[in-house]
């Protein structure tokens, strides 16, 4: 089977079990809790000054993303990996979406 078919199946399963929402909600909460979101906001301002302002959103993303990625605490990454492992290994046992 093609790579595409494989990806489609996996994605389909993940969608049907609320998996993506759960994981993104978890990450969002942890990132707010540890102050990452506020740090990124400050970084955006700082980098904007250094850059003489951003012309558009795409530019902002290009400049800020590497810094923002580096600021994510290891504990959040570990927790995310752990949750993903749990979800994927139990994917068939999870109840489906209503």
């Amino acid at each position: 089977m093609s790579q595409k078919y494989y990806e489609d199946t996996v994605n389909s399963k993940l969608e049907n079990k609320h998996a993506v929402e759960r994981v993104s909600e978890l990450v969002r909460v942890r990132l707010v809790e540890c102050g990452w979101r506020d740090q990124v906001r400050l970084a955006c301002r700082k980098l904007s000054e250094e850059n003489d302002g951003f012309n558009n959103f795409d530019e902002l993303i290009a400049v800020v993303t590497p810094t923002a990625r580096a600021m994510v605490p290891d504990s959040v990454k570990r927790e995310l990996l752990h949750e993903l492992e749990l979800i994927l290994s139990n994917i068939d046992k999870l109840p489906s979406k209503k």
């Binding site: 969608e15 558009n56 959103f57």
Partner: protein, 477 residues
Amino acid sequence: MNGCSHLQHFMREEEGLKTYELLHGVFVISGSDERRQAKVINAFCHVCDKRDFFLHVCMHCTFFGCSQHIREHTKNKKHTFSMDISYGQVHCSQCGDYIYDEQLDSIARANALQGDSVKKFVLELVWPRLHVEDKDWCNKTEKMVIDKTTHIGLRGLLNLGSTCFMNCVVQAMTHTPVLRDYFFTEHHQCGGKCLITNLFRDFYTGEKTPLVLNEFLHLIWTQARHLAGYEQQDAHEFFIATLDVFHRHCSATLPAQPNSSANKVYRCSCIIDQVFTGSLQSDVVCQKCNGVSTTIDPMWDYSLDLIPSVTDGSLPSSLEDCLERFTGAEILGSNSKIFCESCQSYQESTKQFTMRTLPVVLCFHLKRFQHLNDLEKKVSTKIKFPELLDMTPFMTKQKNDTILHLQLPYDNKYMLFAVINHVGTSINAGHYISYIRYQDRFWYKCDDLIISEAGIDEVLQSEGYLLFYHKYCLEYR
């Protein structure tokens, strides 16, 4: 916010709004089985097959593109608008940037409320942003430096004859961060001099003389007749009565709400409900057929028993103990059989309370005053309470989550910010004092008109009668 001229044209000439509504509903919210399927089948880049988080859909044709290829597509094909499928933001290739429009925003909000159960649950949890107009803040010219030596916001309260119970409740409420911030901004409009707004503002004038709350006391007396009179009242009863008076006043002055969806049946959009109202889930399980009957009720405060446990006679020793007992399964004996719908007969059952949703401010009432056969006894059991409280063990377990160890909501941490204590051995005599948290790191003891510094240890060692916790991480959406 009116987008750009290109958007206006798109909306006028090419049914832009309908297109947005459809694309947003299907690919961003995906509220139904078919839509979810459609999203899974279609959401990949037509050029490179990538499924990254930056996927956009073209609003003029059926093209999906990743970050690089969508920009190329909109430029080359001269298709101006594309929408990102993670958040539903619209990009205008002629302006070269994302644009924001009120009409698109309201469509997005309306779609979100039609989403599936998990998304809706998550939406309900988030504190709605108070739309403070930025220009209001810019026009304020008075400035003040807040440093370690300022005491703005701390004022003593004169005792008008056994009104220490009222003074404590007022200290706690005026130092509730979210509530105080709300009454500072001009959100509360009730036409004319508002007693409540002035109460908050009086605390922060910078003056150090004690306040006299005769008007406030009079307001509560007229609205809550059962508390009128100069005798000492129970601080907890007074707190509830005050909340009720504030709630009635605030909801009466709200602008007329359009018929909102079933989301908010248990609380209205007045500030008191938004801050103090959580919901309690009660599950009654029939012992015969294991059928569960569930009810959900709004709660303003949590009254916790300090009685010996029925299983081993032990007394609770901490707040967490009390909460464990509160949310533990209780066997309703043969004298209290419940009518079971599926068995169609009276059966023995177990009852369990769990917290379904938590408010921004949690108020715990330790039931230290017991009325047993005309005798009024004060229970002085030492209850340890923490500075930081995690409510996760007491939350309702969502059905989906029996396999995964983490439950939604993921963040249930609360921070202590006020404590009201009853000093003395008898209910009718005795005195109330309060501790409030100030500028995050400091605590002050409020004994009517005497405000003095206190250490966190002193607060945590105190007896504790009413405990006020504030959600630790608040975020806006």
